[in-house]
């Protein structure tokens, strides 16, 4: 189907489309994503230090409550409709940090509420979590294999 060469009309249409297509501001998107993502991480760092300073957490163990707090904040912001605006403005800058995960969870919960609590909210809330778990586990597996190979072969044993 797709293997046939394009007809002259199709080529003409492609050119027409190219002429009218809006150019994506890639550089601007990258810079905005960098700064907004960085700001989110700065807030996360501040929360992490808060837990280290006032509670009995070390740098190693402070990660868990920090992540939980960041997700909680993102959920509140999503519920109030603020996070959508940040997402429109910053793109990947708001989706890549852990807050993007919280946003995806809560927004699908809001979206599917009309379908009922069990099949709607319960079934759709963790739709994204499935892909996070799958690709997270798989990439961790690949990284661990690469690390093991490097340590075993190039650095001579553990």
């Amino acid at each position: 189907m797709g293997k046939e060469p394009k007809s002259p009309e199709q080529k003409e249409y492609d050119q027409l489309q190219k002429k009218h297509e809006k150019k994506r501001p890639i550089l601007r998107n990258c810079i905005v994503a960098f700064f907004v993502g960085g700001t989110i991480c700065l807030i996360g760092q501040a929360i992490s230090f808060f837990y280290i300073y006032f509670f009995n957490f070390t740098e190693q163990t402070a990660g868990n409550p920090t992540v939980a707090t960041m997700i909680f904040i993102a959920m509140l912001l999503t519920g109030f409709g603020v996070y959508d605006r940040i997402g429109q403005f910053a793109g990947a800058g708001s989706a890549v940090p852990i807050t993007g995960f919280g946003n995806a969870v809560i927004s699908s919960a809001i979206e599917h509420r009309t379908e009922g609590f069990v099949l709607g909210v319960g079934g759709n809330m963790f739709k994204l979590a499935g892909s996070v778990i799958l690709f997270g586990v798989f990439s961790a597996f690949v990284v661990a294999i690469i690390k093991t190979i490097i340590i075993q072969w190039f650095l001579g044993g553990f």
């Binding site: 230090f49 280290i52 957490f57 070390t58 740098e59 190693q60 163990t61 402070a62 603020v82 605006r85």
Partner: protein, 153 residues
């Protein structure tokens, strides 16, 4: 829409500002500033030895600040490593531990680059100075910090 941004930026600004003011004691602000804490020893006669340990630790170029607590058998060394050298943190810790073991074979060293351990060592030092702690109290707190440093996620 515009108003939201002003609120968000304002809240962030206030949080950052407040996190700077939150410290009561200047010495406790070892996160943002260099405090160079004096080393402490549980037993008073060990004070010369603990100073030697501190000099050994600071002889490493990568380390710019250290808090040393010498107990009866254990010794806790909390270090701060230069930012760009933090990639090799594990290797530096290992090297430091090896060198300390060679120079002071009798003690059991715990080396940690964790900020929390450094902070708790500085707090211990302050409280020892202010409240005149006994040897048992110092040793007990030291053991608590060592236990904390071994905690995993």
């Amino acid at each position: 829409m515009k108003k939201y941004w002003i609120y968000i930026i304002g809240v962030c600004f206030i949080i950052i500002q407040l996190s700077g003011c939150s410290t009561v004691n200047r010495n406790e602000n070892s996160l943002l500033s260099q405090t160079d804490p004096e080393p402490i020893a549980v037993k008073d006669e060990d004070i010369e030895k603990v100073k030697k340990i501190k000099d050994t630790v600071l002889s490493f170029d990568e380390i710019y600040e250290t808090a040393v607590v010498l107990g009866k058998e254990d010794c806790l060394v909390a270090i701060k490593v230069h930012h760009l050298k933090r990639f090799r943190m594990k290797a530096i810790e290992k090297k430091l531990k090896k060198k300390l073991k060679e120079q002071f074979p009798k003690d059991k060293f715990t080396v940690s680059s964790d900020y929390k351990i450094f902070l708790e060592s500085v707090r211990l030092k302050n409280r020892v100075e202010q409240e005149n702690w006994s040897e048992e109290q110092k040793e007990k707190r030291l053991q608590e910090i060592i236990k904390l440093s071994q905690e995993q996620t």
